[in-house]
């Protein structure tokens, strides 16, 4: 017995691994392709979709104005909801028990009741409270107004949507803030940074990484559920479409138009979300570096 091993010099090609065959993957691809072709074929050839009608209504002034309303409700609603949600999140995380209690009561109420009901309540606020006044309780009144003149469909819609959304954003922002390691706050405090500076410059930018994906979900959700404001007769995108097909009975084509616009806006929001996530992810991957360009440029461009 000899131990002279006669390992053949490893041929460069013999040495490569042959990947495992994956027949199921191919079957899956073929099936999916067939289904997609079928759907596309039906889309094109089935006259019930009414593509000419879709074309006719795509830029109809009523649809465009409804789209504008939807965008305003989403953007303004989201902005107000973010401000309130941030305030609530900070309250929920404070050391003061009463502030925590207020925040959790708010979240409990607004998450616990249907937004539809909240909207109707806001719109009919005058029934509950005929006049709104600002002043010192049991003291002089500084300002007052008739509730009916303040609550228009617009103010009711914005109030209802943003106050409801704030409850959800509060929870998202709170979890984002909690995801930041306590050591970050300690290091900032040890450097003499104030609590607000620490929050703004150290904690919030890191929390935003966690906040942005679910918050973008919320924005897209709000975009669509803002259609509930039709109950207080505010014609946003979907309601504008419904008003059209109620008269013309072109239900499917008009709804397709509405969906196309929702999809367009969601696509833009998705793109923005991607840019934002990449921008906020800088430093959390190992190789990235940024260079300073203008403020907004930098905000939107992750690395160049």
């Amino acid at each position: 017995m000899t131990t002279t091993s006669t390992t053949a010099p490893a041929g460069q090609d013999d040495d490569l691994v042959v990947p495992r065959r994956r027949p199921l993957r191919w079957i899956g691809i073929v099936v999916a392709a067939l289904v997609l072709i079928n759907i596309a074929y039906s889309f094109i050839t089935n006259p019930n979709y009414g593509w000419e009608t879709v074309g006719k209504y795509l830029f109809d002034p009523r649809i465009i104005s409804g789209l504008g309303t939807t965008l305003i409700l989403t953007v303004v609603g989201m902005a107000i909801a973010t401000a309130i949600g941030l305030l609530l999140a900070v309250m929920a995380l404070s050391d003061t028990r009463s502030l925590r209690a207020i925040a959790s009561a708010y979240v409990w109420f607004f998450r616990g009741t249907p937004v539809l009901v909240q909207l109707i309540l806001w719109f009919n606020l005058a029934i509950l409270i005929p006049a709104i006044s600002i002043g010192i309780p049991f003291g002089p009144t500084l300002w007052s107004a008739d509730t009916n003149s303040l609550i228009t469909p617009w103010t009711a819609a914005i109030l209802g949507l943003s106050l409801n959304e704030a409850a959800y954003l509060c929870e998202i922002i709170r979890s984002g803030i909690m995801s930041v390691d306590r050591g970050q706050t300690e290091a900032a405090h040890a450097l003499g940074m104030s609590r607000t500076l620490t929050f703004r410059r150290i904690v919030l930018p890191q929390a935003l990484r966690v906040i942005v994906p679910p918050a973008a979900n919320e924005a897209m959700g709000l975009l669509k559920y803002s259609s509930v404001v039709s109950v207080i007769a505010l014609p946003e995108l979907l309601y504008s479409g419904q008003l059209i097909y109620a008269r013309t009975y072109e239900t499917i084509p008009v709804l397709i138009v509405v969906c196309i616009w929702y999809l367009v806006v969601v696509s833009i929001l998705t793109w923005l979300q991607g840019r934002l996530e990449r921008r906020l992810g800088v430093g959390f991957r190992t190789t990235a570096t940024i260079t300073d360009t203008g403020r907004w440029r930098r905000w939107l461009s992750p690395n160049h």
């Binding site: 040890a190 450097l191 940074m193 890191q206 959390f284 940024i290």
Partner: protein
């Protein structure tokens, strides 16, 4: 020559978490330019004591005096009043702190980590802050890492950046809480080298450490903590070489 006041003077520091008192009256003095190494078993209160010095924890009793100033309290009519946060912050800014887990800001570059506080707390302008930061980075041997992000650095490099970040505030005192405990063994040396350099330059330092070699070589004093008290204190040759207290002997026999 006048008798120099110690830079750091702690008297009777007590600290309670809930009903659990973890510091039972600690006295400690550190002279300007001195290095004090604080040793002791885990849970003996070393971190808490360090955090009382820059008022990250507020002591329940006792006084912390750094550079002649009461930290965290005003003394008026024989009573101590808690200071407004703004004044505490100003005091903290003059005391650097280095943590076991570095705690660099991951979303900022190395340079921004170092310039953030000097610019926003001390009001230094950007060019001055950048120049200082670059100086400090060369001093800790990381001149080429200014635009890197912390994540891309090794633990030893991150800790050196953290030291530079503390030094950028031009502190009169540096606190180190187990600065090398989270590091791979081969990276400990580079951090200790930087600290050695600092000591040689005359920085006053209080270092919580398990590196007995470093303590023996660099420290002017070693203090051994046990269950919330300093039970033995003196020059390293004495405390580490011929400890008189039984607890110290027990501890040293485990770590040496």
């Amino acid at each position: 020559m006048a008798i120099a006041e110690p830079l750091v003077k702690l008297t009777g520091i007590r600290k309670r978490f809930g009903r659990n008192e973890v510091l039972h009256g600690v006295d400690l003095e550190v002279d300007r330019g001195e290095v004090l190494c604080l040793i002791g078993a885990s849970g003996s209160g070393k971190s808490t004591l360090l955090r009382c010095i820059n008022h990250l924890e507020s002591p329940d009793a006792g006084r912390v005096i750094v550079g002649g100033e009461h930290i965290g309290y005003h003394e008026r009519h024989g009573r101590r009043h808690e200071m407004p946060e703004r004044l505490v912050r100003a005091q903290r800014a003059g005391i650097g702190m280095v943590f076991q887990h570095f705690n660099l800001f991951p979303h900022l570059t190395v340079l921004q980590n170092i310039t953030e506080a000097p610019q926003r707390v001390l009001g230094m302008n950007a060019s001055e802050a950048n120049a200082t930061a670059h100086d400090l980075l060369s001093r800790v041997g990381l001149a080429d890492k200014a635009s890197a992000f912390p994540k891309s650095l090794s633990g030893g490099q991150q800790q050196r950046v953290a030291i530079a970040r503390g030094l950028a505030m031009r502190p009169q005192l540096m606190l180190f809480d187990e600065p090398t405990s989270a590091l791979d063994p081969e990276l400990v040396g580079e951090v200790l080298d930087v600290m050695r350099g600092l000591a040689a330059d005359g920085m006053t330092m209080i270092v919580v450490t398990h590196e007995m070699g470093f303590a023996r070589e660099v420290a002017n004093q070693v203090a051994f903590m046990h269950q919330g008290r300093i039970v033995e204190q003196g020059p390293p040759s004495q405390v580490l070489g011929s400890p008189t207290h039984e607890r110290t002997r027990g501890f040293l026999s485990k770590v040496l």
